[in-house]
């Protein structure tokens, strides 16, 4: 680039950034009123969860934060590291048990679930459900059997053509119409199912991309070694394919977390939903910017933590790294 042009671009940008910083500072010091955030912190975190039981979702979140910290910063080797994947998998049922209650804990109705707790539960629950469905769909789409191939392809293409809000709408209002009279599924579970069936179609395409990247020789080699088709899939093909698909699967997971905010339109009080009801309170009227900045920070942190974890996993699984 021409030197003078370069300098003038820098100058203009500096002026713009300066002006932006000035208005932000002006707003922060003179206009912003953070009471709408500070005095409602418990609502953002746990929603209208019973006050004497709030320690349960909080405990779960503390456990999650500790686990994230340990995974990212803990020792590379050691007895705990081997159990780490299992501990992560156990976080979803643990969260469900802590929040929903049952066994020794007092049951809490899904009507009282809310805030960031509900956001996390929706993300975890639907993600764990969507992954196996997605893998099956990907395998189905690559199957030699026409019935499997066609039905998987039709499902994937149809799901990817419709907007998520329509699928969620279907989950909230139409699923009850397709169930036998008398059988009812609560709203949170219906949302989790809708998210999972939607995300599975996208996950299937990412996994299919990973499967396509495995050279056919791998399968042939496995067959020569006497592995059955199922064994070769399970021991040779899928582990490699999933590793290749990991970066795009991460994007799906981050997208899933962001998309849980759509439930605010359909009446669940997850993080965005609870903020909308707070903003409707006359006491906090007009405090949109404070709330939206706060929410943006929370979502940004959660998504970035997710991306960091996935990056960490990618490095650990990289076969070319010697210090595993």
């Amino acid at each position: 680039m021409n030197r003078w042009l370069n300098r003038s671009v820098t100058l203009v940008l500096t002026a713009l950034i300066g002006w932006g910083l000035w208005s932000v500072l002006h707003w922060l010091l003179l206009a912003a009123d953070w009471r709408v955030v500070v005095s409602n912190l418990p609502l953002y975190v746990v929603g209208s969860y019973p006050v004497d039981q709030r320690w349960r979702p909080l405990l779960w979140m503390v456990a999650l934060v500790v686990l994230i910290g340990f995974t990212l910063l803990g020792p590379r080797r050691g007895p705990l590291q081997r159990w780490l994947p299992l501990i992560w998998l156990a976080m979803a049922p643990l969260g469900l048990w802590l929040v929903a209650g049952g066994l020794v804990l007092e049951p809490v109705s899904t009507r009282d679930w809310g805030g960031f707790t509900l956001t996390l539960l929706l993300t975890f629950g639907s993600g764990l459900l969507a992954l196996p469905i997605g893998v099956l769909l990907a395998l189905g789409r690559r199957s030699r059997l026409p019935v499997l191939r066609l039905s998987s392809t039709a499902y994937i293409e149809l799901m990817r053509a419709v907007p998520l809000i329509a699928v969620l709408f279907f989950g909230q209002l139409l699923i009850p119409l397709f169930l036998p009279p008398g059988l009812e599924i609560n709203r949170v579970l219906r949302a989790v199912l809708a998210f999972a069936f939607f995300a599975a179609a996208y996950i299937a395409e990412d996994v299919r991309g990973g499967l396509q990247a495995i050279p056919p020789m791998q399968r042939e080699a496995a067959a020569v070694l006497g592995l059955s088709e199922w064994q070769s899939l399970q021991l040779v093909v899928l582990p490699q394919a999933l590793r290749i698909a990991l970066p795009s699967l991460t994007n799906q997971a981050v997208g899933l977390l962001q998309n849980t905010s759509l439930m605010a339109i359909l009446g669940l009080v997850e993080l965005l939903g609870i903020s909308r009801s707070l903003l409707a309170n006359p006491v906090f009227i007009g405090r949109f910017l404070e709330v939206y900045l706060w929410l943006a920070a929370v979502y940004w942190l959660a998504c970035t933590a997710m991306a960091l974890l996935a990056r960490h996993l990618e490095l650990r699984l990289d076969p070319l790294r010697s210090d595993r």
Partner: protein, 296 residues
């Protein structure tokens, strides 16, 4: 082996059909129980609700079918404008990310990093409630007049809702397009740049004749899927009260109670939109790649 795979297929087919039959049977039972049944006759009845904006004349005495058509056109309007603006923004930001000016580069990087990690719905609410409704009541500006009642661009009036949805979709999709453009340009080997520079070609000419023809085949398919995403995401317009296809369908379903029929119509209209976009992109793809092949 062959018999086993045949059996497996028959088994899967039977399972799927049984599941489908069960669901349809449940639906029929439920519809009978509520006394609804499937019926599209209501489409001709007057809708009774007003729409804030319509590309063609519309009043509450018009039929539901016409209201849905207006919603479809409103969707098309915001999607078409969004595609153009998001592409411009995305290409500009993508180019800025590989610029030699460090400030410009990091600014574009920051834009992508922030926008992609924050939910689109939250961004839409921000643009609507903070940015556009925060404008002064009396219009400011000359050729483009801004106020919280609406925006007038060269005499063409645009509603605040439309502007908020358009800005949100543009900024959000632009960040993804920037990544695609950067990835596509980076995929062209550095040697190609050095080669055209050493041949004495100008940066612009080299970019147009050497780099872009090699980057575009990688960029266009990814761009198509971003365009489809933008179209799907436009349904979030309901959160700021823009009368798009989904918002009108939602109102229609609430008023008539015809959830199944309304949902089917929504699906069909959406598939139509998708076909329009992917068909258009396939055409562009063929033209661009064909022209490049001829010019080489």
């Amino acid at each position: 082996m062959r018999r086993r795979s045949l059996l497996l297929q028959v088994g899967v087919a039977a399972l799927l059909l049984a599941l489908l039959a069960l669901l349809v049977n449940n639906l029929a039972v439920n519809l009978l129980r509520t006394g609804l049944g499937l019926d599209f006759g209501w489409l001709g009845r007057p809708s009774g609700f007003a729409l804030a904006e319509s590309a063609l004349p519309y009043s509450p005495s018009d039929s539901y079918l016409w209201a849905l058509t207006i919603g479809w056109l409103n969707s098309l309007k915001v999607i078409a404008a969004g595609l153009v603006l998001a592409t411009l923004l995305g290409v500009a930001a993508g180019a800025a990310r590989s610029s030699s000016n460090r400030l410009l580069r990091s600014l574009a990087g920051g834009y992508v990093a922030v926008i992609r990690q924050v939910p689109l719905l939250l961004q839409l609410l921000f643009w609507y409630f903070v940015a556009f409704l925060g404008l002064p009541e009396t219009p400011i500006g000359g050729l483009i007049q801004l106020s919280n009642q609406g925006i007038s661009m060269l005499g063409m009036p645009l509603s605040v809702e439309f502007c908020a949805v358009l800005t949100g979709l543009t900024v959000f999709t632009g960040a993804s397009i920037a990544e695609i453009v950067r990835g596509g340009v980076n995929a062209v080997p550095r040697g190609q740049w050095e080669a055209f520079r050493s041949l004495g070609l100008s940066e612009g000419l080299g970019l147009r004749r050497i780099v872009l023809p090699q980057a575009l085949p990688a960029i266009l398919p990814a761009l198509t899927s971003q365009y489809l995403n933008l179209a799907k995401n436009s349904t979030l317009a309901i959160a700021v009260g823009y009368a798009d296809l989904y918002a009108v369908s939602d109102t229609t379903i609430t008023q008539t109670g015809r959830a199944i029929e309304g949902f089917l119509l929504l699906l069909i209209s959406f598939l139509l939109l998708n076909l329009l976009i992917s068909g258009g992109m396939a055409g562009i793809n063929a033209t661009v790649l064909g022209r490049m092949r001829r010019s080489r």
